[in-house]
Structure formats: C-alpha cells, structure tokens
Symmetry: C2
C-alpha cells in the first residue's frame, strides 16, 4: 500500500507559505529566522522530496513537510501554559521528529533544546531540569531517558516515528490537535474575508527580534556539568546560509544525516539543507550498512562525520568506488594520510572544518590551495590538517596573546606572528559566536572576555594566514620546558602504515615533568604483522622500536612518545571525539594510589 | 615589460585583513557590511586573480586589490572636509575604478553614488547636485560629464584607468596619498606596540550600524526626474550572498562585467563575486568582439544582460559553441524562444530574473522545473517568461489587491487567487527592499505603503505560486474594457520566425478606446523575405497579414495588434529596456496637433 500522510501533513490546495511580519514592521526589514527557509522551499519546490526516512518507509515532500511543521507549530502553541521563549526539549535520533522540531519549535516562539541521546538518564535529567523545558518531544525508543513521572507541569509527547502510519502514534495525535487549531485560526480569518492572505504560514509571525534565542544546545562536557549554549535566530540563519554556500548545497543535493542533529543543532544543516531546497535522508543509527545502502542507492551527495566515523565507513565490506563525488565534512580532527587516500579511492572527498557548539558548529574551513594537486597524499593530509580560515559570514579567527599577560582580561590582544611557530590562543567573535551559556554568567564570563570568545585552543598561524590548532589548552604536553602538540605527534604517528588510529596524552615523567603516552589501534595489516602485541612480549618490543624510529624521523626527540600501548579501541564521545580526559585520568588515578 | 602595480597596490608582507569592530561591540554581533567580502577573500586567497582588465593590460590579485582599496579608503578619508555619510559619486564604465569604489567608499564611511554614464551632462549635473556629492571619481573619457568648474567644495579625481602604469594618472596619485596616510596611521599603532593587531584593514572599523546607507543609485527615470534609491550595508550584504548562492558563484567562477556596475550597484555582484572569491573581468564597453574574446579565451563562466544584449552577442560573427556551460542572468524581459534556442546552441544557459533598483537588483528568479527537460523550446521559453519566485534572503513576492480599493493606502492587502488569471499588483518587503528615495519623502510615500513596496507592476500568480508580470501598470492596453498584457502579446509575436525583436504599446482607437500598436524589427531571414516592408507597399501588406494570422492563432481577437510598423531598431534605455514611453509619446504628440 502506498504511504499516505495523515491530514496534519497534507498541504491545502491554496497554501500560503510565508511568515507574516509583526504589525508595524518597516518595509525594508525582516527579522532573520531559519524558519523562513522551510516556507520558501515549500513555495518554490512543493513536490520536491524534502525528507526521506528509509528505515521506517516514509517521506515527505516540501509542501507536506511544511504542512506537518505548521501543525506542530500550532500543537506546541496549544499546549496549556506554553509561552514564547519556553524551552522545548527533543530526545530523538536522526528521525524526522528532530528535523520537524528545528522548525516547529522556533515557529511557535520556543527554544529548541536537543538532548544528547547517548547521555545517561541522570545527565538527561540535569539538562531537562537546568533548561526548564516545559515540553519534551521524545522518540519511543528513548522514553527511558525521560524522568518518570515527568516533572509537574511538563508535557511529554512520545513519537513512534511512524510518520502517521501507526494510528496510535501519540506524536501524530499531537500534530492532529495542532492541525485542528490551525484550521480554527483560518476559519476566524476567513470570516474576515481575508482568505489566503491570513491563512497557512501567514498565521505565524517572524520573531519580534532576530537577536532572540532560538536554540539551547548542551555541550558534551568532558569535564564538569554540561553547559547550555544559547544561539539566536540571526546567527542560525547566517550560519545556515554560510554552511549551504561553503558545502555548495543545491537543489540536487542529497544530504545523509550521519551527524547527530542533537549535536549543535546538526551544525545548522537542518536549516542549511532546507535553504538549498535539497533532500534530507535521516537514519536512526550510524550504521555502516545503512550508510552504504544510502550512498549506493539513494544518490547521497554530502554527509558529515568525524574521522573515526569515516574509518568505519571506508572499511565496511560494502565499500566501493562511487560513480560521483560525495563531499564529506570532517571535523573533530583531520583525516590522516591513510584515511584520506582511502576516502579518495572511494570518491569520498573530505573537507576539514573546525568549530564548536559555541560557534554554531563549523567556524573555519581548510580551503584547498591550487598547488595541492601536485602533492602526494601524505603532504596533502599534512596541509589539510590545518584548521584554515573562517567561513563566509564568520569574522576572522585570530590567534593572540594579551599585551599584558598578568591581566589578560583587561589587556588588548596582540596577534601572533604568521610564521607557523609562535603559539597563541584562538579567539573568535561575530554573528556566529554564541550568545551566552544559559543561566551561567560565571561560565560565560570565563569564555567571553572583552568582546572575544576564547575557546581555549592553542594554535599557530601560518604565513598564508590559516590557523592550525596545536592542542586544546589542556592537551598540550609540557616536557622539559618544551610545549609538545599532541595533535602534531598524532598526525605524524598516524602516517605509519600499520596504524588505524592513535592518540597521545601527557603522562607524568620523573625527569621531564611530562612525556607523551601513545595509544595505538592497529589496522588489519598491522594486526596481522604484530598480533596483539601485549606488553612485555617480543612483538610489542619490536613494534615500539619501529614506531619510535618512525617518530624520530619526523619530529624533535623530546616529542617522541615515551610509552606505547596497543589497544582495541579508543574511548570516544558520542560525536566521535577521543576522550583524552578519560585516558589522562588513568595516570591521575594511579598517582593518587 | 611585466606589469608592476604601484606601491599603493602592493600588499605588505604581514597584511592584517579584517575590519575591526567598533569599541565596545558585543562578542556575538558584527554589523553586516559587504566590505568584509574583500578582506576575507584577500586573507584566504591572496594570490587569486581578483580583477582582470584586459583592454588596459592590468590586473590585481586579491591581496593587491585589498591593498589598493585600503589606499583608496584612506585617500577618501583624507579629503579635507570629508565625513561619514558623505556621498561620493563615481562616473565610470566597467573599469576597476568603479569596482574599487564599491569597497573603498563604503570602508571610508561614505555612500557610493554611481552615475549612469549614458546620461546627458545636464542629467548628471542634477544627480550630482541632488546627491550633494562631495567627491567625484571620474574616468578620463567621461570628464565632460562633470560640470566645469565643479561646484565649490567638491573634490574631483580623474582616473586615466592606467592601474598605475601611467605616472601622471591623477587617480594613482590620489591612491598614493591614501597609502601614505595608511602608513602614517600604522606608524602610530606600531609605537604603541600593537603591530599586526592594529595595522592594515584592522585600522578600519565596521559601520556602527548595518542599517546605515551605503549606496545611492539613481533610477533611469523613464518619466520625470531620476529618483535616488538608498540601500543599506545590511541589505547589500544579504543581497550579495543571495546573488552568489543563486548564481552558484564559486572560487572557479569568472564573471564578465557586461552589466554596467553603475546600474543598481551592478545588482550587488561586485560584492557577490568577491564573496565567492571569484574573478572579475571588466570591460569598458559592451562590445561583442571583446565579449567573445573573453568567452573564448578568458574562461568566463557567468555574465548578465538583457535579451537585447544577448541578441547582439549570439548574432556576432565570432559566436560559436563554447566548451563549457556559461550561466547568463537575463533581466528586463525573458528570452524569446528563438533567442533561447540560439543561446542554448552556444552553451549559454539563461536564467530569468526580475527586480528593480528599488530591490537591490534581482528579487525573483524563475527556477527551472524538473519537467522542462521534456518540453520543446517554445514551451520552455513560455514558462521561463514568468518571473518566478523570490531569491534566497528575499521575502515572498506577493500579488495583491486592497480589501477596500477606495482607500488603498489604509486597506489590508488580499492575495489574488493562484490561478494564473486574477491580476493584481506586485508588492515586496524585507531585507532587500530599498530604504527610501533620497530626500524625496513624497516619492517614497507613493511606493512604500503600509509596510509594503509597490513597484507598480501588474501580475498574476500561477498555481505553482510563481508570479508573472502582465505589464508595468502604465503599459497595460485597455481595449473595449479588456486588459491586454503588452508583454504577453510580445511574447507570442516574438515566436514568429521572421522577428528579431518587437514591442507593443497602447494606441488610441476611436471605437475600442485603445488597441495594440506593434513595432517589429525583422531578423536577417525576415529582412531577406520582406525587404524594408515600407508602409503602403505590397510587402508590408503581406507581412502584416501574416503577422495577424500568427497572432490570431495564439491569442484572443481583441489582443491582436491593430497596427504593425517595421523599424530598424527599438528605442532603449542604457540598460537595454525598450522605452515604451517614447513610442507612446508619438501618439500623444499626434493627438495634441
């Protein structure tokens, strides 16, 4: 039986598809809001496939999706007690619900609060409590993350992710209530004789100010409590356009949702892909089998993921060279030479980007340079590892030191030399810098100093002006007075033919203060050669000698790691970042014994 | 001898390339200004060819251009008496001077006032006087347009368009004075120990508000005095990004400047092409020989021009099929089927856009639809003739009538049915609607009514929501109570195989009030068949009979023009629009006799 969307998701024949300006708005100003990307796409390309959800066998055109989101908007506004500025939490994998939420919550005047679904129930409870969310939209497989019973006054709506195919799906019933409220609102206007002019999306107004918050995203918080990053309609709109422009999203783009949408609002791509009137393909689980199915059969042109995700994808049995170039945004770290070569052999073309939840996702991009075509893959990987330059709409990303280091918060900032050597702190500002940490002025004042956002990363600037992160401030290894960039050591180490992934952290050393401790995951070939290479064995000794030799030929002696452990995998956050704090904690714990 | 730019156009080794925020700016807001596109391009792609001027044999990389524009910025600020908000007039063909001006004047805090170089000296005098321009930048071949002597207190700078190759070029001397002021400003900061942090472009701050005016463009004014359209930094920034996104400008784009930059600030493309870090190719004269040279040898990927310009290009002896697709934005009217076929045969792919100086250039675009590939060229031309939908960043373009036609200025607007039949007035609003007519509140209040911009065009809306202009309000032919769209008649008439161009205007008719009068320019084949077809001759009679028959098969009887004149050419404005007012004036003059 062909899929028929429920009535809440069926566009009326005359569907007004534009937000209304608030009464009295000047003719030459529209408050920027990413919601407008959806109404525009539905107006221009109503029959275009907007969102496809192959695991559950349903999909929506832009007109259908716009009707559905409008139903959601009215449903949220109809929740008793709901008012503008309220936080609405979403606990959902990459299913249409969380895509709906990126538009419907904002259109209703709420603030979307996406929850990291890999958090523990306790962590989720903290986020729900701290955000003061008054509505929770939750996927049926994640209801265990919602406190039971829910806090008083909080409405919980469960989605069975049926797209309306399941008559008992509570989310669909919620949408249907919204649909009825929408129809009732139209009826009032129809009686006034205004017809199309005050129907559909025209019943919704743009925010009274583009500077109003629209999202509250909690950082994964490698240390301490997660912090809530507040972003605005203006920033989200501009970041989305920049993302679409930089990735060259167009109407024929098919974006595969590998990156979790709960992570920094999916880098604003739920809005950016929509701005381009392109197609979203959602997958509930980052499953390499599902990903290859989409790459081979669904015409995917773009996706996003950390190198660790790429390793899984490129090593999957179904991997084969695609008949078109797929552009892959890679963040967290750059692809190693081996990974870069592997990806290119499959027609997956990585672009290295860098940013944070505090910068709406990517802030910089490593732009390729004309002479790269003449370089070998090793050299290209080395150049690509730099973080590069700011995105369109982003201000310049500076690397600075305070004029007076004794009073950094009162001191003017001086740029480091563009020599690839002098290290300083990365600072950013401008339209895609977050507004603040929610209800946490102390944390805000630690990161926002004198009009600049200080992410805490240590970097150099190259003669071409591109920045390169040496390390997160806390990841620097300080050995005999020398600063060692763990990232730089990893980059060189990863070029070894037997290594799949590696990580280097500081470990206390009697003589030098600190020295590098490397953790190595071998690739298939390496494993065949060296087996498990357990400590104390001959295999291990030979392997370590070989790795040290490899490092010595590529870095200063003091930077060569002192210790090497061969491990099966590295501990990672939900977004694929290696948890160096977990690895470092071992030594801290050992020191306490 | 290879070309060496003068010192004012040589970037320093450590070139700070970002505008400074005004002191005390919040960390999460940068006032939008299109100047930032240039500094960003120079930072990321310093050695990229930014602007090439083949007729005079010079060109600049982005780093050189950014140095040159910074010299211009300081030069303008150093003119005695110059202050923020002053208007700076530019009288220049498409040479680098006017491209420089689009950045340097804004960076200096001035308002660029581009002058239509096809205006008469008297018209230019009016624009200079009305704008109150305090500085005039003028190309050496256009000095006759500057009043002699110039008004007291007005500085006139002549450019020999030498790019510094002519030691006596006054513009270069002006830039050099700016360069010295820049160096002096840096010296002051160097003494404070701030080095790179307060050097180069960092000496310049973004505007204190993005809502400040940045351009004053005079409309060509088919009737009455030209009106000065004020646009803002915010609108220009957003329009430029939208233009770049819609045209898919990228780093490998080569934009050929066929469209005059003095026309609505070149549709904001001086900024949009730069935002994409693409290459500008400037040509002083719209010469089809020069254009074909650029198309065949300079790797041009994009250009812009009215159908009348396209006719000249496609019929040039050098025309041949290009080895790549060149995207051509076509405005003023849509290409006819014959022109569309001709263009496509040469790999020139037109995109039909619609807008006005009052909307920063294009506001809508005819997006192609998937089923067009199956249509013949006649049908595609007919569909392409619609004006389509709003650009990214533009609000929806509505077609409306007032609820109460007796009090239109106090009445709510009602949308017409989306049936392709009910006619109404086009209204727009939002971030790419002009701010106002300069010093003309009466004219402003005629076009800005109740928060909406009324351009005066009559349109219908099709079931897909796309708008189609029936006519400029004054071009409608009212015959026996029927409204005839002169544009629609022209569209059908132009499909006749003997016709190159045509135009239909209202002519008084005893019985019907008005009837259509057609003016026909024959193509080569038509001329061969029919000769001059002078009135009263047998050839004329036969041709008219044939044309009437052609029309009758394609439109209602009352719409078929009553009179047909064969002419050598149609009167046109400098931007290629047919001057229907000139043609209509004939009958008005005749009526007065």
């Amino acid at each position: 039986m062909p899929y028929t969307p429920p009535r809440s998701s069926q566009p009326p024949a005359d569907f007004a598809l534009n937000l209304s300006p608030p009464p009295g708005s000047p003719h030459n100003r529209t408050e920027l809001t990413p919601v407008s990307f959806l109404t525009r796409a539905a107006l221009i390309a109503p029959n275009k496939l907007a969102i496809s959800h192959p695991e559950r066998g349903y999909q929506f055109t832009y007109a259908q999706w716009a009707a559905r989101v409008l139903s959601l908007t009215f449903a949220i506004q109809s929740v008793p007690g709901f008012k503008a500025g309220d936080r609405v939490a979403v606990i959902c994998p990459n299913a249409p619900l969380i895509a709906d939420a990126h538009f419907g919550i904002l259109a209703a005047g709420g603030i979307i609060t996406p929850v990291n679904v890999r958090n523990t129930p306790k962590e989720v409870e903290y986020v729900l409590q701290h955000s003061g969310s008054t509505i929770i939209l939750v996927d049926h497989q994640l209801t265990h993350l919602v406190p039971s019973p829910p806090p008083s006054g909080v409405a919980v709506v469960v989605s069975n992710d049926s797209g309306g195919q399941d008559p008992n799906d509570p989310y669909e019933a919620f949408l249907d209530r919204g649909y009825q409220a929408w129809q009732a609102a139209e009826e009032v206007q129809r009686k006034r004789g205004l017809g199309l002019s005050r129907s559909g999306w025209r019943l919704i107004t743009t925010p009274t100010s583009e500077e109003l918050p629209c999202a509250l995203c909690y950082t994964s918080g490698t240390t301490g409590r997660p912090k809530g990053v507040i972003t605005t309609h203006r920033g989200s709109y501009l970041a989305a356009i920049a993302g679409a422009f930089e990735a060259q999203f167009a109407a024929d783009t098919v974006y595969l949702w590998v990156l979790p949408m709960f992570h920094a609002c999916g880098w604003t791509y739920p809005w950016g892909v929509t701005a381009a009137m392109a197609t979203h393909v959602t997958i509930r689980k980052v499953d390499n089998d599902v990903i290859w199915d989409a790459l081979l059969n669904h015409g995917v042109t773009h996706y996003t993921g950390a190198p660790t995700v790429q390793i899984g994808i490129t090593n999957h049995p179904k991997a084969r060279k695609l008949d078109r170039i797929v552009k892959v945004s890679v963040a967290a770290s750059a692809p190693t030479a081996a990974l870069l070569a592997k990806m290119e052999s499959l027609n997956l073309h990585p672009v290295h980007v860098y940013g944070a939840t505090e910068t709406y996702g990517p802030f910089t991009r490593r732009y390729s340079e004309p002479h790269w075509v003449d370089l070998d893959v090793d050299e290209r990987a080395r150049l690509m590892a730099r973080q590069g330059h700011s995105f369109l709409v982003a201000d310049e990303c500076r690397v600075v030191r305070p004029v007076d280091p004794s009073r950094p918060e009162h001191s003017e900032l001086v740029d480091v030399a563009q020599d690839g050597k002098e290290a300083g702190e990365i600072v950013m500002r401008g339209n895609i810098a977050m507004k603040e940490y929610y209800k946490d002025p102390a944390a805000t004042s630690k990161i926002v100093i004198n009009g600049w956002l200080h992410l805490g990363d240590i970097a150099v600037r190259h003669p071409g002006g591109e920045i390169q992160i040496m390390d997160r401030g806390k990841d620097i290894i300080i050995s005999g007075g020398e600063n060692i960039s763990s990232l730089a050591v990893e980059q060189e180490l990863a070029a070894h033919p037997d290594i799949l992934e590696c990580c280097v952290v500081a470990r206390p050393h009697e003589k030098w203060g600190e020295r590098g401790q490397a953790y190595i995951v071998l690739n298939a070939e390496g494993a065949k050669k060296h087996g498990k290479a357990a400590p104390g064995t001959r295999e291990h000794e030979a392997l370590v000698a070989d790795l040290k030799k490899h490092c010595k030929s590529r870095m200063s002696g003091f930077a060569v790691p002192e210790w090497f452990d061969i491990v099966d995998e590295l501990p990672k956050t939900s977004t694929g970042k290696v948890q160096k704090n977990v690895l470092r904690a071992k030594f801290a714990a050992a020191a306490k014994l």
